[in-house]
């Protein structure tokens, strides 16, 4: 299996972070990061910026009740379920709606790779010596 050069590896770092690479490419990127201090530094910086990006969704302004009403306002084309739900819903409680429907959160697992593991990989390089921490 041919190894990646730095340019090839860096072109794949975003997809690697996002768990969007297939197993072979994911392994190739990981191997390159294990061997290349320059790309490890790029990887750590990428993780810093990705962490800032993730925080964008942690502090959104809450939607006004007026918007919720406008979005859900029953019309002749809306199904009866919405009308029933709207009349029964607590003013600030949409959890019942969300839990019963599709998942809208960030993907936890894509291509068999777990997001938590990826972040562990991200944090798994020692800041000082560039070596991976054991375990």
């Amino acid at each position: 299996m041919p190894k990646l050069n730095c340019r090839e590896a860096q072109n794949l770092l975003e997809a690697f972070h996002d768990n969007e690479l297939d197993g072979v490419n994911s392994l190739l990127v990981q191997e390159h990061l294990d061997e290349c201090p320059d790309c490890r530094r790029q990887w750590r910086w990428l993780c810093e910026v990705e962490a800032s990006l993730n925080r964008l969704s942690e502090s959104p302004p809450s939607a006004t009740q007026d918007l919720r009403r406008r979005v859900l306002q029953p019309t002749s084309t809306q199904p009866s379920l919405v009308v029933a739900f709207f009349s029964n819903a607590q003013a600030n409680d949409w959890s019942g709606l969300a839990s019963g429907a599709v998942c809208v959160g960030r993907r936890r697992s894509v291509n068999g790779m777990d997001q938590g593991r990826r972040h562990a990989v991200c944090a798994g390089f020692d800041e000082d010596d560039g070596e991976r921490r054991p375990g």
Binding site: E20, P37, R44, E48, D66, Q78, A98, V104, E127, G130
Partner: protein, 197 residues
Amino acid sequence: MPGKENDDRAEAILACFEALHRAAFRLIGNKTQSEDLVQETYLRAWRSLSQLQGLSGVQPWMFRILRTVFIDQLRRESSRPKLVTDVEKLLSASEELSPPELSDVNDRRKLDEVFDQEINSAISQLPDEERLALLFQAVGGLSYREISEALECPIGTVMSRLHRAKRWLRHRLAVYARDYGRMPTARPEEEQRDAKT
């Protein structure tokens, strides 16, 4: 359409509300205008509910409508100035910076706050399609495949747009870090030394 099927579709599109609202706000940066965008998105979705094919594709379907409404609004505001037209051109014209070294930063919370402000500014300067791809992923939580459905483009195009957008963000934050003297940027000779020790 059978009632149960219609109910399921309605429930599914309503479950997208929070993600759509977050994305719309980050896309526009204005609470009132972003709420108008979400409202118009739902108006069109309700009208087209019968066209939704299967519940698994509901989220990209809703984000595709959001994008269409957003683009329509941009066309109506054609005089809106575009700050950045080509990320590659900007990046190639800029000085290539090494990643900042963060290990010696004392106040990480403060640094995170600074970065969070700066990243909003950097995102606002991205071209519309790069910004859409980035926000659909980072805020909407869509996968590459779902973004490709929402933006009606190949996955390879999604990857290119995300790559350009994130390169731009990393560059902007690195410039910020260097210019404000908060962190030194690593020089190649330091990299070599690190590698040997």
